[in-house]
């Protein structure tokens, strides 16, 4: 004889796909808030630390520490240059935050969700280009006060930039597929 569920032994229901979507959506929103805050704070902190500027100059820009003239003006220009890809990145993360907010409310196949996905895709692509430009501007800023013949203009394209573009184009493809999926979902909703 089977035991009937009581108040102390509630009937356990298997999670529905919508429950899983809500859990992932809330997790993603939390990660975006934490990641975005750390990302912005660390970038701003970085450009006011002499030691970190030297590390970034060598690692990301391709300029060795002995070749740079780190003046306050150079630091400010480099920080402003870094703000460009940072702003694009924050915009992209905001789209993620809003997109998963829509998903958590069950608004999955909507034109708004497709639009946010497209914006996220373009922000990745633009961020990759902005990072290249920022590194170039940084190399110029850090070597601007060098003697003639020692100034540098470096164009540095890394595998990270390629990955950003790759994922941006991938998301763009998915976004256009979602536009079609949204149309089909709306058409299906008109059938009773």
């Amino acid at each position: 004889m089977q035991a009937m569920p009581t108040e102390k032994t509630p009937l356990l229901l298997a999670p529905t796909p919508m429950d899983r979507i809500r859990r992932i959506a809330n997790l993603m929103r939390g990660m975006v808030v934490i990641g975005g805050t750390v990302f912005v704070a660390s970038t701003l902190f970085l450009w006011f630390s002499h030691q970190w500027v030297e590390i970034v100059a060598m690692r990301d820009v391709g300029v060795d520490a002995a070749s740079i003239s780190l003046t306050p003006a150079a630091q400010w220009v480099s920080a402003l240059a870094a703000l460009v890809p940072l702003s694009v990145g924050v915009f992209g993360m905001f789209q993620v935050w809003k997109l998963f907010g829509d998903y958590a409310q069950g608004q999955i196949f909507t034109s708004q969700a497709s639009t946010r996905l497209r914006r996220l895709a373009w922000s990745l692509i633009v961020c990759a280009a902005a990072q290249v430009l920022a590194r170039t501007a940084t190399s110029l800023a850090l070597t601007f006060n060098n003697p003639p013949g020692k100034k540098m203009l470096i164009v540095n394209i890394s595998s990270t930039d390629y990955t950003f573009v790759l994922f941006g184009v991938l998301l763009l493809g998915i976004a256009w597929v979602m536009v079609e999926a949204t149309r089909l979902a709306q058409e299906n909703a008109e059938f009773i």
């Binding site: 058409e187 008109e190 059938f191 009773i192």
Partner: protein
């Protein structure tokens, strides 16, 4: 070409309200209203089958094909 829905006639014959029908067949009352007014893109066979089962009728009692000429003439005569 137009398909005319006579669901309101069948509901009246069976003395049933839209809400009752909606509860019996498991769709919303709003969808029943849309169906009655013909403002839907289509009806699934499953839904049609459940309506016929509850109202004890045939699909032909609910749906009528009216060619466009007849429907426009009928609207002019009115």
């Amino acid at each position: 070409m137009s398909i005319v829905v006579h669901l309101d006639v069948m509901l009246a014959k069976r003395k049933m309200r839209s809400r009752e029908l909606a509860e019996h067949i498991g769709i919303t009352e709003q969808n029943i209203s849309l169906l009655k007014s013909g403002k839907v893109r289509g009806v699934r066979f499953d839904t049609l089958s459940r309506i016929c089962e509850v109202l004890q009728c045939q699909p032909a009692d609910l749906l009528e094909y009216v060619p466009d000429d007849e429907s426009s003439q009928a609207s002019v005569q009115r």
